[in-house]
Symmetry: C2
Subunit: 312 residues, 2 copies
């Protein structure tokens, strides 16, 4: 390979390879909420023991330091079991520039541990604003080394709200069918042509994503399809054959193994299931061995979903 030329690999190829390597089509959601941090983390970040619940009103710098410490422990525990983590941007943005600084550092920390990174920011803007958001998520340059590889986006503004995120070696997951109860209000509305609104969004995502398909047949534009909406999955898959499905709602939100199966193709590919609370808060008390319980929960998630997909 020529000296200074860096080959930028397609984001979907990289993610699918990482899933194959681990036989774990899963992602651990890192949604650190100060009130829920184990006591031990609060201590190690300089906050008095036993007062983690008081951190919600602690200075932003202290709170950011606490979620930094917690997140590093989580990354250390899950890196050997799963190929990917998803950071909930809101959890960090809550603490202003302190939190945003920690978020960038945690994304780098995850990548240095070999983890694929999705930034769950649900951004949705157009033109130069969307380009700015892409730079914020992915970093300043097109090198593969910095920032998140993927970001979640909102498609309500149309294709011009999505395209700026499809940069070389990067990708986006567009919200198609969300797992929350209120999602039905709009997403289940029936169009005159018989499709639902979420199916119309799926059609748009399939079309925009067609321009960015990798060697393995999947697009750099994926789709968020909630595990709690299992009945909708077959039609959404038919509309979006080239989209990797990012599937939230597993675990704490009520989705089970049977709910995520339909998202995978016959070879167990094409989807990645994400779980947050059921992994990172597997041990809700302040017990000293909480990091191990996080690792065990990540291993269990990988095994359950890997089997459901037929990869194990």
């Amino acid at each position: 390979m020529p000296g200074s030329l860096t080959m930028i690999r397609h984001a979907a190829d990289v993610l699918l390879d990482a899933i194959d390597r681990t036989a774990a089509p899963v992602c651990v959601g890192v949604d650190p909420v100060v009130d829920r941090l184990p006591g031990a983390t609060a201590v190690s970040s300089g906050v008095s023991p036993g007062v983690s619940s008081a951190l919600s009103s602690a200075p932003r710098a202290e709170a950011a330091a606490a979620i930094r410490s917690f997140t590093l422990d989580v990354l250390d525990q899950v890196a050997e079991h799963v190929p990917c983590v998803k950071f909930q941007s809101a959890c960090f943005e809550r603490y202003g520039h302190h939190g945003v600084r920690v978020l960038a550092e945690m994304i780098a920390a995850a990548r240095s541990r070999g983890l694929e990174v999705i930034l769950d920011a649900k951004r949705g803007d157009i033109g130069i604003s969307a380009e700015h958001y892409a730079v914020a998520a992915f970093g300043d340059d097109d090198s593969e080394a910095t920032g998140a590889r993927w970001v979640t986006v909102n498609a309500y503004l149309g294709g011009d709200g999505i395209e700026p995120f499809l940069r070389p070696g990067r990708g986006a997951f567009a919200l198609v069918r969300t797992s929350n109860p209120g999602g039905d209000a709009l997403q289940s509305e029936r169009l005159a042509d018989g499709r639902t609104v979420s199916e119309a969004v799926a059609g748009m995502v399939a079309e925009v994503g067609r321009t960015a398909v990798g060697e393995r047949g999947f697009s750099a534009l994926g789709a968020v399809v909630g595990a709690t909406k299992k009945a909708d999955v077959p039609r959404l898959r038919a509309i979006m054959p080239q989209q990797i499905f990012l599937v939230p709602g597993f675990g704490a939100q009520g989705g089970g193994v049977d709910d995520v199966k339909p998202a995978f193709d016959s070879e167990g590919r094409g989807a990645i299931v994400t779980a947050s609370r059921s992994v990172i808060y597997a041990e809700s008390t302040g017990s000293a061995d909480w990091p191990q319980t996080v690792g065990e929960a990540a291993a269990r998630l990988a095994d359950e979903v890997g089997r459901a997909a037929g990869l194990r």
Copy 2:
């Protein structure tokens, strides 16, 4: 009034009063893009003269300092002419924690100049993540003194993605009909019941907003309705009688005085027109008197729209 009790006024009442006071139902959009900053600003922020176009690859701290300096000049110029500014969050987030820190400082600077502040962040998430975004936008407490008073939100996830933003003394503008060309792809789709998708969103916004109506009859949940979609405005107004319309697309995006008139009621109320590039980049060259041209453009915007609404 009792000593330590602070009366938190309704966000819509405060905004409508501010518009009345100035007879200017307008908002200046602050979307600082480093490549477009006047040379003078680049100089005052420590960057060599004449190289503002090179700032796009400058270190993030330097770029953030340049947009800080520019934004302060803009705020100084527009504060006497308009009641409100809208910060494009992406322009600041692009520069990571440096930019986010400047954004918080600029929101405080705008408020200290008596300006109402909308944070154009188009956030769209649910549950505790939406609550985190609300804290990020509004500040840590319910005092009226910190953070933005309003934030823009995306309604694709339903009511549970909006409600967390309707905090005491704060409000949100939900994206209903956006001004970009691609917005039609989804928003103009026709439902089986004859409504468009954006009208369905409007109905949801009207319903969620009904719980948060102020003394002047308008809700703390407003709606973004683009000036370039004039034909849709009468029906959207009929569906959303209690929503303040935030109207982008005026000026640089092609909307004119006739396009924004339908957004106002017979008394010239119920809407606020926002313009960004046509004001803050009124003088695109590096001339030394650019701040005055920004002030003049803001005064012109206020006069044109104030007359269109019948307030002048």
